[in-house]
């Protein structure tokens, strides 16, 4: 239908101009050289990619991956019971869902700042602890890996809860009944029936948390205070302060590649499951 072609044309144009082209340029830059004043110059080289293997940077990747895994893990452990609770509350399901989603829809920046406010030396938590006499001097809760992790978990928790909830919703309730009928106590049913059946939702939620955590920039910058350098910070740094665009491009390409592979693997699994 010709109509369809006209309808898709603006999107094609926009995606080509503002998604494909920028990425192509970044790809090209990753093979070029840094100019004297920070610009882009010939010759074409793979030097940037070679530099990626410098131990300094390797530790950054490792940290980022560990951080992403940790945030995914915490989100899973914290989010699963919440999803379970919502799915097993027939009356107020929608209310609880909205309660979970509401903070998510408001500003991510605000939600990250909230922890800055709470965790700083003169923040609420420290002040309260001091007022109660539990501690003398403020605890350094901010500007470290822990704060970043907390910020990531807080930010992406709804991404874990919703897919798990969706899977639980679709689960046949008579399965849990059958398990009980066959002698399984609640915890056994949980671990032997409910959780295994939730695998698709768990995997979906994990992917939805892992990927943004891996590429996080705002959270480590704000809550890590420059001490926690993750891949996102590295990229931003190369494009601003360090003015090494080729190297920054190379890191970006690798990050994009990793993310693309993860998503492709996930979607392949999804379509296999449907087929």
């Amino acid at each position: 239908m010709n109509l369809r072609r006209w309808f898709l044309f603006p999107s094609w144009l926009w995606m080509a101009a503002l998604f494909a082209t920028p990425l192509a340029i970044v790809l090209a830059y990753s093979f070029l050289t840094r100019g004297v004043y920070g610009g882009i110059e010939q010759p074409w080289t793979v030097e940037s990619y070679q530099r990626l293997f410098d131990p300094l940077y390797l530790s950054i990747y490792l940290r980022s991956i560990v951080m992403a895994i940790a945030s995914t893990g915490f989100c899973l452990v914290l989010g699963f019971p919440a999803a379970l609770f919502i799915a097993s509350s027939p009356q107020h399901k929608n209310l609880y869902l909205q309660l979970v989603m509401l903070p998510f829809w408001t500003s991510f920046l605000v939600r990250t700042y909230a922890w800055l406010f709470l965790l700083r030396d003169t923040g609420l938590i420290n002040s309260a602890l001091q007022a109660m006499g539990i501690i003398e001097n403020p605890l350094p809760m901010l500007y470290n890996d822990g704060a970043v992790l907390l910020g990531l978990v807080y930010g992406y928790l709804p991404f874990m809860v919703l897919p798990i909830y969706a899977t639980l919703e679709r689960m046949d309730p008579s399965l849990a009944d059958a398990a009980a009928d066959l002698g399984a106590r609640p915890l056994a049913t949980l671990f032997r029936v409910t959780i295994p059946l939730c695998k698709p939702g768990i995997i979906a939620g994990s992917v939805l948390v892992f990927i943004p955590s891996l590429g996080a920039y705002l959270t480590p910058d704000l809550l890590g205070g420059g001490r926690t350098v993750l891949i996102g910070n590295l990229v931003q740094n190369q494009f601003t302060t360090a003015r090494d665009w080729p190297f920054g491009s190379a890191v970006s390409i690798i990050l994009m590649g990793l993310v693309t592979v993860l998503v492709w693997a996930f979607l392949r699994r999804e379509s296999e499951n449907l087929a």
């Binding site: 999107s11 995606m15 019971p81 609770f85 700042y113 807080y154 609640p186 705002l218 990229v235 994009m256």
Partner: protein, 253 residues
């Protein structure tokens, strides 16, 4: 076990909401410090008195409204086109742009704009931010409208054509009316996403096109300030209400 779950859930929701509530409560604190000294609207007044904040807010509004208008139209058309016949390439690139880390999108757009500016001799400004915002909003609009379309029956358009409507008329008179709640929800989502964006905006904004998130960020990096609390409270309430309205519209439609 149900009881434990309920206890956990209460703690969970507290964990989710208390930080924001605390921010809001302390925005009314007359003191700068986290000791409650008295109720005050000083910080809210400070918002209005700080030109940087007002300018940033104004820029954010303009950008958000413009970007939302464009991305809603483009995204709705795209969703309709994809509903009629799949295009794996376009769908793939839409999803890919959704999962691309924001910092990568930001630097890529910066790289492209600077590349183009070599020839055009233009500068970064509001328009580059708007272009960028449209780019990352379109996938959100497509997802919302497409999911709405999936519940629609293609038979209705066939019936319309059977009765003499052309493809375009069938879309206009039959499908589009049923899409309106979904389009509104998509527009509100795009609005929220655009207003809130920091990472991409910071990379492609010009000198005089600072947005509210950029202002907040700059202030926050210097340390917490009650003015930020006040701004945060306002933003949260405003967008919270917007989303609730959007949910009502979606449920009613």
């Amino acid at each position: 076990m149900k009881r434990w779950l309920a206890v956990y859930a209460a703690a969970f929701f507290a964990f989710l909401h208390l930080p924001l509530l605390t921010l809001a409560v302390f925005s009314f604190n007359s003191s700068q410090f986290t000791v409650w000294e008295g109720f005050s609207l000083d910080w809210y007044r400070a918002i209005v008195r700080t030109p940087q904040i007002m300018e940033g807010t104004w820029n954010s509004i303009i950008i958000a409204l413009t970007a939302t208008a464009i991305s809603t139209v483009v995204g709705t058309l795209c969703a309709y086109g994809l509903w009629k016949r799949k295009s794996p390439f376009l769908t793939g690139s839409l999803y890919l742009s959704l999962v691309t880390p924001e910092i990568v999108t930001g630097i890529a757009l910066l790289a492209m704009f600077q590349f183009v500016f070599r020839w055009l001799h233009w500068q970064l400004g509001l328009y580059t931010v708007i272009l960028a915002h449209v780019a990352f909003s379109i996938p959100y609009v497509v997802i919302v409208v497409l999911s709405r379309l999936r519940t629609a029956s293609p038979v209705l358009e066939e019936a319309a054509m059977d009765l003499g409507a052309t493809e375009w008329q069938a879309f206009l008179y039959v499908t589009l009316p049923s899409l309106v709640p979904g389009i509104i929800a998509a527009a509100l989502l795009a609005l929220t996403v655009s207003f809130d964006d920091y990472v991409i905006t910071s990379m492609v904004a010009g000198i005089d096109s600072e947005t509210l998130p950029m202002v907040i960020y700059a202030m926050a990096r210097r340390g917490a300030s009650p003015v930020i609390n006040a701004i945060s409270a306002l933003i949260t309430v405003f967008f919270g209400l917007l989303i609730l309205i959007s949910e009502r519209v979606r449920a009613a439609g």
